[in-house]
Amino acid sequence: MELKKQKNRTKRKFEINGYTIEDRFRGLDRETKIEMLRKMFQIRHFELQTEQFIIRGMIHGTCHLYIGEEASAVGTIYATKKDDYITSNHRGHGHCIAKGADLNLMMAELLGKSTGYCRGRGGSMHIADVGSGNLGANGIVGGSMGIATGAGLTARMKNNKKIVICFFGDGAANEGIFHESINMASVWQLPVIYLCENNIYGMSTPMQEAFNIKRISDRKISYGIDGLTIDGNNLVEVYNTVSHFQRECRRGRGPVLIEALTYRWKGHSKSDAQVYRSKEEVSEWMKRDPIKIYSGELIERKIITRKEIEDIENRARDDIKKAADFAKSSPFPDPETIEEDVYA
């Protein structure tokens, strides 16, 4: 999939797939710009630490690492409000961290500890923090698309001005629930941004084996909604696009389908020999590291220095180390509690 970039950094507006999108990133305060970088680093190092835990056999179960896709979660969530809702999928750590989750509780959950977000009941694929608007990761591909739409309905019925971000992958776009949910959101004009992270593969299946179309965002036609394809590795583009559409959504202008092109650097899950793709393809995409791209942008815009970036990364590394320590030193859940939380 070819990435057409027609934007011009000096301009205040982008033109993407026929939509004119303002450069709101430009006007953002410095703190937030740096905060976003920090989040990206946290995600990256969280995943690297997780990978270590996997290698050392400390994770019972599987994990799906988000490395390489950080710009999508961070750019999207920072373009929305703190109390907006998100739903996530199996590859959910990045969304969760970007949404502001406590790293300690996340890591503890991965190690199956009683201090984890889910008290050890959910693990990687089910971390949620409903209080903060994170309606949960999901082990079922497409499984959270109805839930996201339902949160949109709440927003609409309570008129609470919230919007919903529904993260899902290219693979999920072929599940029936994708179709049903977006259609209903459109009929009811719900404030939901369906954010498809197209990393070109659903497990081992490349897009061309699962779709006979080039752009998933073209499916907007089926529902009469807005939609477009963007460079998901470019945080600024993600931020601006989502900023634009979250305002539209909040104004009652229905759901949107945004396709963010990206790539996962690691295997699909714990065990993946990656026979379905070439090393070259991976390294081509690694050149388009979202963190490097964004750092470069910040440096170029003179918002930050290389040294400062190093500091930020080091602090992120520290945060993760602390989280890992917290997780390791936490106790396992008491088996006696097993049937707690089944019912309210």
């Binding site: 959910g122 089910h126 309905l153 029936g176 939380d341």
Partner: protein, 333 residues
């Protein structure tokens, strides 16, 4: 007694929803053709006039998303009552029911709740054949996180639905088509709002020779059979309406068995793998010493519900089959 109003099962259900919706604006209805049309069986007829189309919300024909949307709204503060037009269509939404709504709370470590009711008509007898006549309660009753309710009469229907709506868990509320408008089963139902605890069975007929545990419409059929058999053979059956399959009230059955020593289970679903297997298994474990004869199940035949009336009558247990079961049980001793 005669002065008290007698209403149908359908009216009782509708009234429960109306009264609860007046009290709590977070409650809304979502389903196919429930607004102007009033639902396939007319249960929600007229409600759109009072509550409007936002709260009596018609959906496209999309059962999976319908349930997903209800769950998502429940997790964020609403209290949806979703209607699945025929319980057979729960299969289309089964992931959303069993993997999402049922499990969200547990998997999230107790930090979410999904207060929703899924109302759906089950059962046969309407000549609608295999895909519109099933009794699929066993499929949902097996899923931890769900509660499952099957009222057999107007009084219970109202009280149980009120409790289901008040419950903070997903509750599958399976109604029976043949009860909806049946004048024969009208009953006094108080006008005020009242709840019936989920998890409590009910003795619908006192008796001393034999315990019958039944669900939904089969409670009514069993009552009929019990009257006839009393007259014909003098056998006096105690009839327990299971009412809530999950949580199951085992105690009420065991208490009855202390008296009768004999258990017959009656349900409409095909016997193989049906819910009454659970009842029988629990009794065979916890009430074994109370039993003086085999546990008999009278249930649907092991086939899809057929279309033709003569076949459908053969598939679904009727008064005659229940009576034969009772007699069998006495002859087997």
């Amino acid at each position: 007694m005669e002065n008290k109003r007698q209403i149908t099962y359908l009216e009782a259900i509708r009234e429960a929803m109306q009264q609860m919706m007046r009290k709590d604006e977070n409650i809304y209805l979502i389903g196919e053709d429930i607004a102007e049309y009033g639902g396939a069986f007319g249960v929600t007829a007229g409600m759109v006039d009072e509550f409007g189309k936002e709260r009596i919300r018609n959906t496209p024909i999309s059962e999976a998303a319908l349930i997903g949307i209800a769950s998502g709204s429940a997790m964020t503060g609403m209290r949806p009552i979703a209607e699945i037009m025929f319980s057979d269509f729960m299969t289309i939404a089964m992931d959303q029911i069993a993997n999402q709504a049922a499990k969200a709370r547990y998997m999230f470590g107790g930090k979410a709740s999904v207060p929703m009711v899924i109302r759906t008509p089950g059962g046969g007898g309407t000549g609608a054949a295999g895909q519109h006549s099933q009794s699929l309660e066993a499929l949902v009753a097996h899923i931890p996180g769900l509660k499952v309710v099957m009222p057999s009469c107007p009084y219970d229907a109202k009280g149980l639905l009120v409790s289901a709506i008040n419950d903070d868990n997903p509750v599958i509320f399976i109604e029976h088509k043949l009860l909806y408008k049946n004048k024969r089963y009208v009953q006094y139902v108080p006008e005020e709002v009242y709840g019936i605890s989920l998890g409590k069975g009910d003795i619908k007929r006192k008796g001393k020779n034999l315990t019958i545990a039944a669900t939904s419409f089969m409670v009514q059929k069993s009552l009929e059979a019990a009257e006839e058999i009393k007259n014909e053979k003098g056998i006096d059956c105690e009839i327990i309406d299971i009412r809530t399959l999950r949580p199951l009230d085992l105690d009420i059955i065991l208490t009855s068995l202390e008296k009768t020593g004999k258990l017959m289970c009656v349900e409409e679903a095909p016997v193989f793998g049906g819910f009454m297997g659970e009842v029988a298994a629990q009794v065979a474990e916890y009430g074994f010493d109370l039993l003086d004869s085999p546990i008999l199940r009278v249930a649907g035949r092991n086939c899809p519900v057929p279309y033709s009336l003569v076949l459908e009558n053969e598939m679904i247990p009727g008064v005659e089959r229940i009576k034969e079961g009772i007699v069998d049980l006495f002859e087997k001793i």
